[in-house]
Symmetry: D2
Subunit: 406 residues, 4 copies
């Protein structure tokens, strides 16, 4: 992959010449190189990039996070809270940084957070925590694939040794093989500490696969089969999780929902009931009102891999009245692939935003996940209430004013 662009020939034909983005020594992460590259883009396009040039993060720190850097983008950051969380890992009252350009989003989440805090807080739990890679091994016949699967159990100790030799943080917790036609898909499930860990476990899995080939158990494989649903919504995420499976719940008295959310518990359940129907009709992955909003805003603020919104937004919200007439509300997020180390977590604003939540660095990923789940619950309540009370349009009229001139 490294040399792809320098190749000048396709077989005997010279490749068509193209105007590549300029190459620099050591990939060009010095401030000067970044400026030169930006200048090249400005010349090429005739567009001035003054805002892009405004960048408080030292450009050398971007190495490993981006290639061909030309600066940074900025996104507005708001603060929502207080959010009281009573979890196994997160305990206390938080003010949550949300990066977005969607008017009313911060206000809506804030409303939910204040309501939950007044109800006594959100209970949170991390129920499962593993990430996985699912390579596929290819055979000539159904019989050969079947034989491979029969023999893989015996190899697990060696696969673990091979995989874990590549990483200090990843632990291989499970190997599961299944056959489809003449292929065998093998799921390697790992714990990854406080990192999101995909690069870590992909490398570890690659090593384990190479061992299987070297031992003659298989002759070829693809490192990805699509089964693991990395950066994709899928039902499999609901069933077996990927990353952290986190649950948040709270009980809210009717007087509180009426005062703060302008809706009775019964009215909120009615909204939820309709939502399940709509989601079934649409073939949605799970059922929730707006996980994606809060997740995207938190992920951008806190240096997460934002593409993981695609898998992380799959999940389930439930609303139910109790025999005492209260509302019990919960969210279940089976695929919170979040991190407090690695990736973009240490960069300028990311580190600051994680620190706001007491979640920067090692030992904090589970805490961060619980805060994310509590935030999601706040969003669900507020959104459902806006639907139940008919206030949605007014709220967006009031807060979301940056629309095209009508």
């Amino acid at each position: 992959m490294k040399l792809a662009h320098s190749s000048g020939r396709a077989g005997s034909q010279p490749l068509a010449p193209v105007d590549l983005v300029p190459r620099f020594k050591a990939q060009g992460y010095t401030a000067a190189d970044v400026a030169r590259r930006r200048l090249w883009v400005e010349h090429k396009t005739g567009v001035r990039l003054d805002h892009v040039a405004t960048c408080s993060v030292p450009t050398e720190q971007m190495r490993g996070n981006i290639e061909n850097p030309i600066g940074t983008v900025q996104m507005p950051l708001g603060i929502a809270g207080p959010l009281r969380v009573c979890g196994d890992h997160a305990s206390g009252t938080f003010y949550v940084p949300l990066a977005t350009s969607e008017g009313a989003l911060v206000r809506s989440y804030e409303r939910g957070m204040v309501t939950l805090t007044r109800a006594g807080g959100v209970t949170t739990r991390v129920e499962l925590d593993e990430n996985r890679v699912c390579p596929v091994f290819m055979f000539d016949t159904v019989a050969e694939a079947s034989r491979f699967i029969e023999r893989i159990d015996d190899s697990v100790p060696m696969l673990r040794a091979e995989a874990e030799a590549t990483t200090r943080h990843g632990r291989l917790v499970r190997v599961e093989a299944r056959q489809v036609g003449r292929d065998a898909i093998v799921s390697f499930s790992f714990t990854t500490g406080d990192a999101q860990g995909m690069n870590m476990i992909v490398k570890a899995t690659g090593r384990a696969c190479d061992w299987l080939v070297a031992r003659g158990l298989a002759s070829s494989y693809h490192l990805f089969s699509g089964l693991s649903s990395e950066k994709r919504a899928s039902t499999a995420l609901l069933g077996s999780g990927k990353g952290k499976t986190v649950i948040a719940g709270a009980k809210l008295p009717a007087a509180l929902t009426k005062a703060c959310l302008h809706a009775t518990p019964e009215a909120l359940v009615k909204v939820w009931h309709r939502a399940t129907i709509g989601h079934f009709l649409a073939g949605s992955v799970g059922c929730n009102a707006q996980f994606a909003n809060g997740l995207a805003a938190l992920f951008i603020a806190c240096g997460q891999d934002v593409a993981n919104v695609a898998n992380a937004h799959a999940g389930l919200t439930t609303f139910e009245t109790t025999p005492e007439g209260e509302l019990y509300a919960s969210v279940t997020l089976p695929s919170l692939t979040v991190a407090t180390v690695g990736g973009g977590t240490a960069l300028g604003t990311s580190r600051e935003c994680l620190a706001l939540l007491g979640c920067s660095g090692n030992g904090n990923a589970a805490r961060f996940a619980e805060i994310v789940a509590a935030t999601a619950l706040a969003g669900e309540l507020s959104m459902a209430a806006a639907i139940a009370s008919g206030e949605f349009v007014d709220a967006h009229e009031h807060y979301g004013r940056n629309r095209p001139a009508e």
Copy 2:
């Protein structure tokens, strides 16, 4: 919704006091108010927010995009290209801004773009362009819901008049009703010009619904049923689209895929074949390798509503060999809810990044959508090639270095 936090009483009980984020006159968008709010957060949490304070966008411009602003977050921006696009709307060679902190992402997309450009470029088409809101009307019995549905066709002209009275850009193109039990879900489909348009069409739909109630055709409704799959992955998006349905395709000679992607057309088809199996097993929405990566990076760079990655990443990639031994590769993205006006598109770096693509402002949404689709195709080729050639791990070792210390 506006008064939720000021309410001091829930029924006869006073609400528990909470420590709200400070309120300012006119919601506090002056630079001084933003600084004061940030200072309050710093005091509250003991965290310094120096990077968050670095902000080139005038804070007053954030009104309508965020509440409780405390500054901006920054994300690294890289440039990938050249990408030659031969579309109905986008025509030319582009350098695409990608904001991410995931190492190797820009390089991987760049590789795909260069390959496609050398193949002569990507053909793109916008096949459909509408957005929708799906309120649900509630009745006491199956018979009443059925009667409502029988009568709604006659109301369409008035519904259109009501809806379009609220907007200069939105046009109501279709009204479709379906019954589930004793509910009736009505889909209002609009064109929205160059805006993403959700706020616009939600307001318009609300007005139409109110008219139905005022005329006695229904007595109650919820503005959202969950059917429209806003910010959610769902099969319904694949079937009927939401936002722009965009298609991109290219034919690549075997010599080119071998030289630039280190894989034959047959090897790439083999990867695709396995991917379909993995995606079926997982119950994925569609089948693609990494739409989410490119979409998130482009959406962040260009001021899109990033939560829309949840719906936009649903789509289909196809690889097939031609009788002449070439590869034909395509992507179909049925839910590109992108915009070049409104939302965050006019803010500092967003406007600059859109301008880089010649897509800032009115008249450019279809062009932008075609560039997004071509970018997605580049990502699919590069990812599939990394899988086919076994180079994935090496590439991430080389470029994705910002991992937790091992």
Copy 3:
């Protein structure tokens, strides 16, 4: 296809000889030929087929329904009722024939029917009635597929003329095209009168496709793309229906559910609530307790195409309490591909069972569909009640005794 088995050569190699089922003049539908074929099977396998030989339907009537006939199979038939239906098409009290070998099934449906009848009956509606075929046209490039789609609207009158020339009962009501990559999938939607109609509309669609090829608009197509979900469960069925979309609902006082179902409305809603969660987790198509049981039993009894259970069982059940404390229960079946003419509907027991419901022959398909939906509702109530009351195991202990000796 007709000559496949007689072909003695594959290219220059003779095909391996195989021992075919004996061929007879005129395909062998005389009683003597059927007996001779059965005898051949008995000799071949050493198994006596005395029960299979018991057959009251004249074997010549089987022509068009089966090939290589050797007799009939028998399945026990029970009767459940009374079921009071208040529909647009079905009105009155019915006793429903159910063919099954699953103990407790008839009793369970009967319980639901009696309860519904005591509640005043089931309201039913047929909301949509069309069947479809979705051929796919293949092109060399995205651009060509796009051009085809742009031009197809103009061809609809000619497509209708061609399609309808092949049938007296089928009417082409809609043609919808969508593009995926370089393919164009075209949905041809028909009304089919009282027949299930697949053969009818497949032939009609084939004629229309041939016309498109003859006119040079396309060069090749496959008659089936898989999109129509014939005999398959899919989300698309929930969204757009296939066959008849039928809805049934009823309101049940709490006193009645307690007396007849041993469960309060709240307890039944609680079961439904859990069912939605379980179905989301599983990635089910819709949400219902046991549509398949009743559908299979009715389809077998009434000469329907039983494989259609695969699509017909996709649907939605809803339970909700009313403000007055009653239960409102409904079922929505979007893909009832049922018939009262054609297929197996005229054969011996099938005709008798349809006649029991007043549904044999022309003009009765909608009535039959409403009775099917009302039956499904009965099953849902009874099953949910057995779950709520904890009586499921006891009921099956009592009625389902034909289990393997323990």
Copy 4:
């Protein structure tokens, strides 16, 4: 449940009287009682049931298979073959009984079987064999549900002892708990010998659940949560199986596919490629052409629970060319809930049809499952070939003549 119909009062109100199907002593399974009941239906409806009365199975044998029996229904039975199977359990050449009223079905499967037999036969494997019940336990809070789940692992030995005390054939192989909101869904997975086993394992699971309640670990549960996908299509079936997971594959030379199926391997792969697209668009559960047809016909013939077609038809077909230009075709059926003992397997024609395949009685379920899978593969080949060659309409014109008069 047993007393539901005899209850004459709902609270203080008498229930509305209804005209129940006549009750007999000992539930009325004597030939005389069955005749009297049938006569009652004839009088009630004015329909003569002469064919229904034709019944070679002694009515007393129907006890445990049906309630309120009035006779049997007949369905035409055809024979297809030869089908050569090379499995772990099924080995030899079979003639497969198919009960259907859909013209061309038997001929189509026969064509696929003959082709496969000429190719040397079908390789089959049973990869997994377990059935499951997934009760849901309900708690007041997220915290309580979490505590329950933490403690359940320690209970597994006792759960196993309780569950297995109820059955001689069922073995509890796994207990897996997951939390959703404040509920805990527990999957009890069993092996069930040669029975389909649902009644067996439902009873066993009920006992285990009662033990959990008796020990104070939970206070209430529902025996079914919907997660197990009994008689429903769902993605979960593809992921984890239910019943037998069976795979069948075969390699076919190009000369053979051309001679017998009138299509090249490449043309067949082209059909498969389109099918995957259509199935993704539709949101189908897996991807296959017509599993449901063969399964329904075999299930009816062999006394299976026909409603299981709803889950069993979920599965995956793959077609791929080999480097040598052959076709490799496979089917993977993850949810073959089939049986050779219990249910309807011992009744008259069912026993004869199972015996035809050497599969009647104990020790034969895996063999039967492999034959079913091989039959499914035959259907896929024949259907794909009919699509590729454009012969579908002609075949149905020729064989499927029993359509409504046009």
